[in-house]
Amino acid sequence: MSTNLTAPVDQSPQHHKPKTPRAKLSYPKVLLIVSGSLILLSLLRVITGATNLTESGQYTAALNAAVPIGLAGLGGLWAERSGVINIGLEGMMMLGAFSAGAVGWQHGPWAAAAAGILGGALGGLLHAVVTVTFGVDHIISGVAINIMALGLTQFLAKLWFGADGSAAAAAGGNDKQSPPMPDMPTFTVPGLSHWLSAVEQHHWFLVSDVAGIAGSLVTNVSWLTVATAVVFVLTFFVLWRSPFGLRLRSCGEGPIAAESLGVNVYRYKYAAVVVSGALAGLGGAFLAIYVHIYQDGQTGGRGYIGLATMIFGNWRPGGVAMGAGLFGFMDALQLRGGGPTVHALLLLLAVLLVGLALWKLRGGQRIQAAISLAAAALLAVWYATTDTVPLEIVGVAPYIATLLVLSLAAQRLRPPKAIGKIYRRGQGK
């Protein structure tokens, strides 16, 4: 998934405006960053004793939390790359989760996943009809779809799962939840998983840490998680390396230009929004499959968070994956009593801020350096005077992180140019 960290933009040589080459992450750089972060994490674990930082269980939980968010974010990415804002992701996830629940208890988890995709895609189709064909404001349509999906799933759940004397009710369904479905199969790389877990137990510096993180990737991983990883890679190749993707993105960057070259903009927007819904639906289905049942309120705002990860990830699959990973990691920390771990992260943050301050100082930006330094000092004091962080703060950390990242980096983000604009065929003058 790291391939897509490489921005497909090139340096522009001799040019009348002074331009620095756009930042490009090459493979060596990515490797350097990854190994650097690993060493930092290991160090931090050794210093603070917060084993959660690199424990395999932590990463398994993080992965499970990240998958639905990531799928929603990827769904957002598809829609927005074609120029359609999709705030209806939440509703599409609901439809996906519901459909999965409705189908899964009789036909198993794979059918549930397929149903989730279909349910979400239907939601996407509705959004496409309303925004593309009828030209309604995208956000308004999305909100309306969320309201609608909520009403519909609650109504149908009562009708299908909770009806007195029905087979579903007998199988354990009720007004608010579907009957349970069988487990989604998982895979474990036979020898490797065991070996890694053994290495992890030794708590060797770096080695055990890497083993812990790697272990989570080869032990009891749901096939749906694997499928999600594939979808991320596929998205990159389809959107950035295929004619179809070029056309789709062109609809988000300049629909009138695309139209003038014979691209059927409506068709691509439809395709993108339907895929967007399908991905969100799969995210919803993952939620249902993970706990074997569909439940009312199961999505819990993950559609909105997916949207945030998409922006956070600069409308790129790699970025979305990172954003979802952050939310997943924090979610997992909160679940696993991550107070001490977040406490340890305070120290890391303080150190990073000191680094930033030095860097800014070198660049001559004194004020920013001073601010960073002050923040670092505050964090250090916080770290020194406490030994854990309240769980409420752990839970809210990703939201604050998103806010911070967005407010620090919003100017560097490159949303598609024509995003949210109503496009009508033949409007070009």
Binding site: P8, V9, D10, S12, P13, H15, H16, K17, P18, K19, T20, R22, R241, S242, P243, L246, R247, R249, S250, E253, G254, I256, A257, A258, E259, S260, L261, G262, V263, N264, Q411, R412, R414, P416, K417, G426, G428, K429
Partner: protein
Amino acid sequence: MELRGITKRFPGVVANHDIDITIRRGTVHALVGENGAGKSTLMKILYGMQKPDEGTIGIDGERVSFHSPADAIARGIGMVHQHFMLADNLTVLENVVLGGEKLHGIGGKARTEILKISERYGLGVRPDVLVEDLGVADRQRVEILKVLYRGARTLILDEPTAVLVPQEVDALFDNLRELKAEGLTVIFISHKLGEVLSVADDITVIRRGTTVASVVPGETTPKQLAELMVGSELPSPQTRESTVTDVEMLKAEGLRLSTADAEGVERIVLDDVSLTIHKGEVLGIAGVEGNGQAELVEAIMGMRDPDSGTITLDGSDISRLPTRTRREDGIGYIPEDRHRHGLLLEAPLWENRILGHVTEKPNAKGLLLDLKAARADTERIVAEYDVRTPGIEVTAASLSGGNQQKLIVGREMSHHPKLLIAAHPTRGVDVGAQAQIWDQIREARREGLAVLLISADLDELIGLSDTLRVMYRGRLVADADPATITPEELGSAMTGAATGHLTVSEDGPAEGRTEEGGSE
């Protein structure tokens, strides 16, 4: 290629009415007509972007009907639009291959092909640059390459020269002749008659949506052509007597403005700009679009905050004042893009009359609006400025461009400005309205108004101005006397080829004095 009886109606307008044109293979065919005559619409029909309500298109004797540009492309027709059709965030390569992916893919083969075409026609296109980073002329070459890449045999160029300076126009024409030599057909739209006569093999004149004449360049003069175009004597922007006083109305000193782009790179858009406009003076600024004129206007209006420099209006420093106060202090503003900056398209006319002057009489009483007075005054403007509308309750969007512009002019004049900023005041306006707007500017000038005029129409600029300055890369690089200067000379300064005070030299185009640039 034959177009027969083409008719196209838009709500409220008949853009094309029973048009007949025949285009010979391997020629450059020019289409001339005033703004709004229906040229672009006709070409969009030929390119499949719009469907004609009536009429037929025939190619090589075969009747065709296009449902989308793809159909036209398949027939070897390509079009470079009046407003460029490029996606800024995509690379040149992506923009070129878009829609034509089947030809050479979207990867290395396509890049090779692009470089090949670029070399063959001397276009100098770099495939991996973001379009966002290109200037106008470069963008146009990308557009042309886009069409050639698809193997088009017929090229439609819709006003390709509007944004180019004369030297760039010459380069373009060289390209066109090259294409013609290769056997391609070029359809070329312009209302710059000199150009047309120099490059075209056939000329068709369109007036009010219909063909009025087909002529051959050798048998006609620019004057005849112009009269065919407007159907009467050409209106002239010539100002007669000078009304310039020595009272300074606007004085800008050392304006400097830089903007940071997405990557955080600073770009200087105004570089030490100083100018003075006196009461009763029209100061014209020439320059290729994107050289800082828009930013200069916005800096004077207070819509942008210059990094340094001062602006004085009628003796008082307004550098730090917000836009609203500047307007209250007497700056009138006819914006370059009336849809973006001058109107609320979906609001009724009387609300548009309030726009920009909400704090002033008759629109407001204290903190409240005075709707009655505002409505009454809108009626007055409509009558006085000949805004053709059935009433003041209709939305601005339902008026034609010229009438929208007259409303804006009326609105701005109603507040008796000391300084009027007129950016492209007659762009996209029909000839009748054009003459009226010129008259109004002249009259206001007589009454002691100072005018900052910005226009891409060099005739308008030379005709109306008392003083001319040329802007290039954020600097005022040259000045000229409108009484003696010609558009060509102005053009050479606009490309940066000449600086200082422009005088007519004996042999050929203007030569700038070698002294330091034009800013005082």
